[in-house]
């Protein structure tokens, strides 16, 4: 995907709009209060009924997976200041105010777009590999890694909506600016049999990969024709599906579930997220954030983990 390429930008924008649409739906539904568990590897709560029928996994019709640079908007903004509206009459005054507003809106949007464009440059060395990452191929590698006991099948064509569960998946990947980690933001919509057009559950799942410790991250990602990029992307996608199948979206009761600020690693940086900790071990913390998103995060060194967290056998980390 060429970041400067117009069709690619349109695909990326369309993917982000669909991702955000699901994100809005999930935010409206709210957060849930699943019990805290200490064994992340195998003991997920099974809230969606298991009836033995296969689940069809449908990926977007667009071929190419969207990758972008992780961006920080903390510095965005145009500052403050007084503004005078010298005008000979009321009409001119109103026109001056409206013009001021439009100019500011345009500047703010332009500034954010510029920040994202600058962040996307982190992917420049990897474009030859990323051009060939398709949704179908990525899902074929990811599906065998999903730990659920359910039978997941990649949908070829249109599966029978009356007979089978269907999952629609849209992942978008970000790379940290230090190139040491990938982040997957995946919108998941689950359709039960007989309800072809109405998603019963919708999720946003974010999985932040454990940062690579290679001295030269570019060489690491590009080695063997980009194998690590594809493998880590597939693992993050598999982890997203695991979370989506294990933790249903439940309306959050007032005061339910203690909130805390979780510290985790995103590349070489320490980041924080406020939410409810659902499960924890040495390598991963599973959090439901304030938007109701499920997040699988590598804990930072400053994060205080329960004593038992590292004593159980954890699953593999993406």
């Amino acid at each position: 995907m060429e970041c400067g390429d117009a069709p690619a930008r349109r695909r990326a924008a369309a993917a982000m709009q669909r991702l955000l649409a699901v994100a809005v739906c999930v935010s409206v539904v709210g957060c849930g209060g699943a019990p805290v568990q200490n064994n992340l590897s195998t003991q997920y709560a099974q809230e969606i009924p298991e009836d033995g029928r296969p689940w069809y996994v449908k990926v977007p019709a667009e071929e190419k997976v969207v990758y972008r640079g992780a961006v920080n908007y903390d510095s965005a903004g145009l500052g403050n200041g007084t503004m005078l509206y010298p005008a000979p009459d009321a009409l001119s005054f109103v026109a001056a105010i409206v013009t001021h507003g439009l100019l500011l809106d345009s500047q703010k949007k332009g500034q954010k777009d510029a920040l994202q464009e600058a962040a996307n440059k982190v992917l420049d060395p990897f474009q030859p590999v990323l051009r060939d990452v398709s949704h179908g191929n990525l899902m074929r590698v990811a599906l065998p890694r999903v730990r659920t006991s359910r039978q997941l099948v990649l949908a070829e064509g249109t599966p029978d909506a009356e007979s089978y569960w269907r999952i629609e998946v849209l992942p978008v990947f970000s790379m940290t600016q230090d190139r040491s980690a990938l982040i997957a933001d995946t919108a998941v919509q689950i359709y039960p049999p007989g309800k072809g057009k109405v998603a019963e559950q919708q999720y946003m799942a974010r999985v932040v990969a454990t940062p690579v410790s290679a001295g030269d991250p570019d060489a690491y990602w590009l080695a063997d024709d980009g194998k690590a990029l594809r493998e880590v992307s597939a693992s993050l996608l598999a982890e997203s599906l695991d979370m989506a199948l294990s933790y249903p979206v439940v309306a959050r009761a007032a005061g339910a579930g203690p909130e805390q600020t979780v510290r985790y690693r995103e590349g070489a940086s320490e980041k924080m997220e406020r939410g409810e900790v659902l499960a924890v071990d040495c390598r991963r913390i599973l959090v439901r954030n304030l938007r109701g998103w499920l997040m699988s995060l590598p804990p930072s060194a400053k994060m205080e983990l329960p004593a038992a967290a590292c004593s159980t056998t954890a699953g593999s980390s993406p």
Binding site: Y73, D74, A76, G79, M83, H100, L104, K108, T261, R274
Partner: protein, 231 residues
Amino acid sequence: MTRRALAITLLLLSTFLGACATKPQEPLALDKSQLTPNLGKVGVIMTPIPKIDTELEGAGCLLCYAAAAGANSALTKHTQTLSHDNLPKLKEDIAALLRKKGIDAMVIPDDLVLDKLQNVSKKGDRLTDKDFGPVGAKYGVGKLVVLEITALGMLRTYSAYFPTSDPKGMFKGVGYLVDVSSNEMAWYQPVDVLTSAEGAWDEPPTFPGLTNAYFKSLEQGKDLLRAPFKE
């Protein structure tokens, strides 16, 4: 104009200009070699936590402010329900870091109300405006680590009627280490943390993205105030 009126005018003018010319205190890095048991007894104290609220910088005129306040009323209503997440515990965190260095440190549970302290007549670089001598005498400490939290909540910048930024989570304050006998500071650190929401910010009524940004700012602010006392 009579001579007396002229003298009064000149006096007022010079006072005004003198105040404007007062240099604000520059940040002072803490010399970690001072953090030894020789520092004496140190008290860690905090000013009252301000009301958690929205700030609308730049909406200067009355009508501008009214328009901005109205446009952000849902956010303000939610912001005022947010907690400070046990911010006073920061005093104990810093006291514990001082004790690790062998310093006799205590947490002062009472809030420090700066307005109740006397002003000092001697001004200068590294000198506080207030006299901390009585505070030191009251609690039996020779040094004070003062944590002055000035603003918590959300900040949005404006140019007259229009926002120039999305709202951001905000933590503002200053930390300083003051010798109560001389009111001289060995450390002065302003902290101003603004964090944007990830993705959309306008998500009423609970604004989860901005709420997350606020708690991030809170944690980062605490980290910055703790950092000089760490190894």
